[in-house]
């Protein structure tokens, strides 16, 4: 299944801005995070199709997964 992965802020360093990945069915967000070698403690927001989502969520065809470190502003 095809999933669009978007990375932001420092997560982009030495990785990518966005990439479409072909993942086996049943892949969870946690597995993607591990493959990207992002430490779970470093995660701020995890959004699946624009909504905050737990790491155990399985991905589906056509999903957009966005990962952010902890950031803030105002």
């Amino acid at each position: 299944m095809k999933v669009l992965i978007k990375l932001f802020a420092t997560f982009r360093n030495e990785r990518f801005k966005q990439e479409e990945k072909d993942l086996p069915p049943g892949t969870t967000i946690r597995q993607v995070v591990a493959q990207l070698e992002i430490a779970e403690e470093a995660l701020g927001m995890v959004m699946l199709n624009g909504r905050h989502t737990p790491l155990d969520q399985e991905l589906s065809e056509g999903d957009t997964l966005s990962l952010f470190p902890l950031v803030g502003g105002g």
């Binding site: 420092t10 927001m45 950031v71 803030g72 105002g74």
Partner: protein, 576 residues
Amino acid sequence: MNKIYRVNMTDLTTSVEDCPAEWAGLGGRGLTSAIVAAEVPPACHPLGPNNKLVFAPGLLTGTPAANSGRLSAGAKSPLTGTIKESNAGGSAAQLFARLDIKALIIEGQPKEDAWYKLALSKDGVKIEKETALVGKGNFAVVEAVQAQKGKKTGVISIGPAGEWRMKAANISVMDPDGKLRSHGRGGLGAVMGAKKIKYITVDGEGAPAVKIADPEKFKTAARTFAKALLDHPVSGEGLPTYGTNILINVLNEAGGLPTKNFRYGQFEGHDKISGETMHDIITARGGKTKHGCHAGCIIQCSQEYVDTSGVYVTSGFEYETIWGFGANCCIDNLDHIAEADHLMDDIGIDSIESAVIMGVAMEAGILPWGDGPGVNRLLREEIGKGTPLGRILGNGAAEVGVAYGLTRVPVVKGQGIPAYDPRSVKGIGITYATSTMGADHTAGYSVATNILKVGGDVDPLKKEGQVELSRNLQIATAAVDSTGLCLFVAFPVLDIPEALTAIVEMLNARFGLSLTGDDVTALGTSILKTEHAFNQAAGFTNAHDRLPEFFATEPVPPHNVVWDFTDAEIDEFWNF
């Protein structure tokens, strides 16, 4: 700190008095709101002789506490008609503290058509006539003061927008690099203009260091506090690297980035104006990605944005401004927005209100969507020259909406709604609706918990928990705004318990007190209640705590949600 300086512009006299006991425990917003509530008749005209303009440094300002250099300004607001506090960085607050000035209260109004300047120093406050700089922009004022009095003198000034008493006019404060910070919201620049004061200088020559009751205890607490700021990923890494503009991509992904005057929650051109892109542009052009708006800021969310030849354009280039001129007006060119930021600093007009004004101006057909040069022309040629159209624009988004017969006018109590859509970030909608200041995201930044997942987790698309969240944050914010600490310390404070303890310890060590965390909460509560009582006496009721109608009837994509709080649910906010 125990002196209160009074300047009476009606008879051009000044006086100094000792701070009365009931104000001794107050600073910053707590003090400006207490003074306005005690001394300004709530029903007065904000531009008339009965309004007062108050400046006060925070309780910790002038000490070595990190990020403690904020100055509060308060008055009855010409934009909202409510009580107003607006705080800013810059060097003036720390000079106030060193000069032992607890507050400066400016009252009355000159009868003759002349302009004045005020000079504060260890010898007191002087009123002098001013002619040379009248009609000039803020940068010219700063340059002239620096040439005459040196670079260390603090400057607080208004631009032409304030002189013309435009309701969106701000008050500028010079930063340590001779650039500008602003008391942006609520049109306080118009109040200063109505008092006929073009600028105030603050000379710290010969002023001693701020006294600390228990220096050892203070040092320990200050160290813990600074460590928390540097350890937390938001204040220690995100803000210094990308500035507040890191939020463009965040809000775009969450569907809460108001686009095309609050039609959509996402903007196609988001990446071109994002914090990540801005960081790359500044680095490539040789600008500065990190910069503090006052001495002792260790977060440094500010930056210096330069043009393609490396020449300075603007600093303090904030998410709010970039959202407003960017997504909200459909402009995807950072250089155009940076030029707008520079123009607004010079003219002396609030960048958030101006952003909402421009969105409404596009709605009105005054200029096409996405027209960056057009926006800058309106700022320079219309608002900056005080033309009839410029006067309408400069009086705020609500007035533009009235002048052009529009219904899609995003304001609460007459003040433009900032950079988070209340339909898809519902917690911030409660803050916009209920804040004593009119629509103001900083009054209770529910975005932290709704979107950024700092200080807990409340679903941004659901109503549950939002009223309580906004209330807790508004109380905490009123207290922080009284300390003189930059509000961005809230990110580590929400997550690291030692940081809050350290703030209480610093207050105790500074004044020889034994406050607890509960006392700080009680302070926040009493400030909110004082402000709310002023507003009620000025004619505001629960019926003013509402968002514009279109938020309830037009779903915002991509989540297609509406503003669905009942009046009774919103009114629960004040039950404390």
